[in-house]
Amino acid sequence: MSALLEVRDLRVRIPLPAGTVTPVDGVSFSVDCGEMLALVGESGAGKSLTCLALLQLLPAAAYLASGSTALLGGQDILALRGEALRATRGKRIAIVFQDAGASLNPVLTAGDQVRETVLAHLPMTRAEARARAVSLLGEMGLPEPAVQYDRYPHQLSGGMRQRVMLAIALAAEPELLIADEPTSALDVTVQAQILELIDHERRTRGLGVLLVSHDLGVVASRADRVAVLYAGQIVEQAPTRELFGAPAHPYTRGLLAAIPRLRGPFATTRPMPGSVPDPASWPSGCRFAPRCPERFARCDALPAITQPSVNHAVRCWLAEGGS
């Protein structure tokens, strides 16, 4: 069986006065039906551009390099244009962003924005679409959905706005949901609720989920697999338990050591120095090498991808077995 989403060699280029940069540089991954893949990395890693590229929502200056493909149920969604693109976006593949306040239309009520999506994709009358919108808002945990329907985004809390965003995204029962840091701006209590809503859709109707986060801790108990992105490249990809149990890339180990833990004996987190460099100054060898505590001579060359085990891929010379 082939995957629901199959992304191959995704490259996003942005021409700048000083030369063209490639902030997403050959990213490949897949998401199955009913599977949650977490895409994890720091700001500047290329996570959001990856999401936007899949929906053809890249900023005007950016473009996809030839050879980039993303098959959704076998169809290349990067090649869709016009009506076919409109019929796919929102219907088969949907997205929620971090900042629900900026994503919602401030002059339309919450409910009307949900109804709009229902009407755009499902054969329903306006009254039917309204009823469906109310029930969606209820399913997303909005108390008194019929009342909340008429509220404007500014009258809702951040968590409530994200629930509305989720109702819009799930309105047409898409096959794939891209969730780009959906809970990073929210309280931990609301974060748990929002993630559970997404997970519920995954379990009950086989929704495929690409969950993007900077926090490995958030994805640990939810994602089936994790892909770690650094400087435009996936540096490690593995089933979640294996990634946490036997992280093979020093960057993954650094991210894990930075998570503050609530359970178990107290230990201070170990900060990883530095941050993701600007795409214009990525080294030609291993891109993590300048921050890597374990770098050695070989790191001047870009590491090949090796597989410590069947489903585990890592881009590091150390993982090659005997350095």
Binding site: S221, T240, I259, P260, L262, T268
Partner: protein, 320 residues
């Protein structure tokens, strides 16, 4: 016993709604909160958005008006202070905000932003200012060269370091950190927490640390107070509070924290809805969201007061 560095007693802050017509209702943001911070100590304030954490912090630096209560800093009445006296006291209490992008003036060079406090409080001669700024930037782990850059040229983590350098410039005794790491990547969060710990040790700084994430709080605070709708519902030594939380709200906050362990499967969310669930006129503020098995009519009519038992205090009729 020596007087604590900061003493807050029975503090209340309220805002008035400003409707288009008629009189606005008074909305309490902070209700009868008392706390103490000793020199060099870190106290964390924890709660969801809307719990009153930031209002309390802003009241302490006199950015919002207090409706009743008392604030004493280093033995002096902070609320009665005016003019030159207030300016002097404010030097001792500095604040670092969550959103470093809006906290810094976008048209001001980083170096000038850090020097502002030095100028206002006339701390160093003009000729020595640049040197002092360079020293401060170095202390927070920034390259001196950044003094000549604008905030937009900096990453979120770097801007937060600038915010800290700005606060340190006037050599405060108390640093109020209002969600200083909530907007940052986990990796950068860890760097800033390490920096704050280091500064506290080196300078003997006291800190009021505001956050919604208990795992972050555990990294830095000796004591923790949990707030719900403007009231303190539980407080105690951080490790004791995490090991045996008494208040159902504290328990729910702990249960809501994501577990960075893939071998646990996530339990159903511990709390429904958020603070917009409602503000009861009487009784326990947490009652509408509470799942305590003994929750009853008393919770809807009688407001629970903070009761001390062991090292911690809890405001719940049925806990501990």
């Amino acid at each position: 016993m020596t007087e604590p560095l900061l003493l807050v007693r029975n503090l209340s802050v309220e805002y008035r709604e400003r409707p288009l017509f008629g009189h606005g209702r008074r909305v309490p943001a902070v209700e009868g909160v008392s706390l103490e911070i000793a020199r060099g100590e870190t106290l964390a304030l924890v709660g969801e958005s809307g719990s009153g954490k930031s209002s309390l912090a802003q009241a302490i630096v006199r950015l919002v008006d207090v409706s009743s209560g008392e604030i004493r800093f280093a033995g002096e009445d902070l609320l009665a202070a005016r003019g030159e006296n207030l300016r002097r006291l404010r030097r001792g209490v500095q604040i670092v905000f969550q959103d470093s992008a809006t906290a810094l003036n976008p048209r001001m060079l980083v170096g000038d932003a850090v020097a502002e406090g030095l100028i206002i409080h006339d701390l160093v001669a003009p000729g020595e200012r640049a040197g002092r700024v360079a020293q401060l930037l170095e202390e927070v782990g920034l390259d001196q060269g950044l003094a000549g850059r604008y905030p937009r040229d900096l990453s979120g983590g770097q801007r937060q370091r600038v915010g800290i350098a700005r606060a340190l410039a006037v050599d405060p005794a108390l640093l109020i950190c209002d969600e200083p790491v909530s907007a940052l990547d986990v990796s950068i969060q860890s760097q800033i927490l390490a920096l704050l710990r280091e500064l506290q040790q080196r300078r003997g700084l006291a800190c009021l640390f505001i956050a919604h994430d208990l795992a972050v709080v555990r990294q830095i605070a000796q004591r923790t107070m949990v707030m719900y709708l403007g009231r303190v519902v539980e407080s105690g030594p951080t490790e004791a509070l995490l090991a045996s939380p008494q208040h159902p709200y504290t328990q729910a906050l702990i249960a809501s924290a994501p577990d960075p362990d893939p071998s646990t499967r996530e339990a159903p969310p511990a709390l429904r809805s958020d603070l917009s669930a409602g503000r009861p006129e009487a009784g326990c503020p947490f009652e509408p969201r509470c799942t305590h098995p003994r929750r009853d009519a008393r919770c809807r009519t009688e407001r629970p007061e903070l009761n001390q038992a062991g090292g911690t205090s809890t405001a719940c009729h049925y806990s501990p």
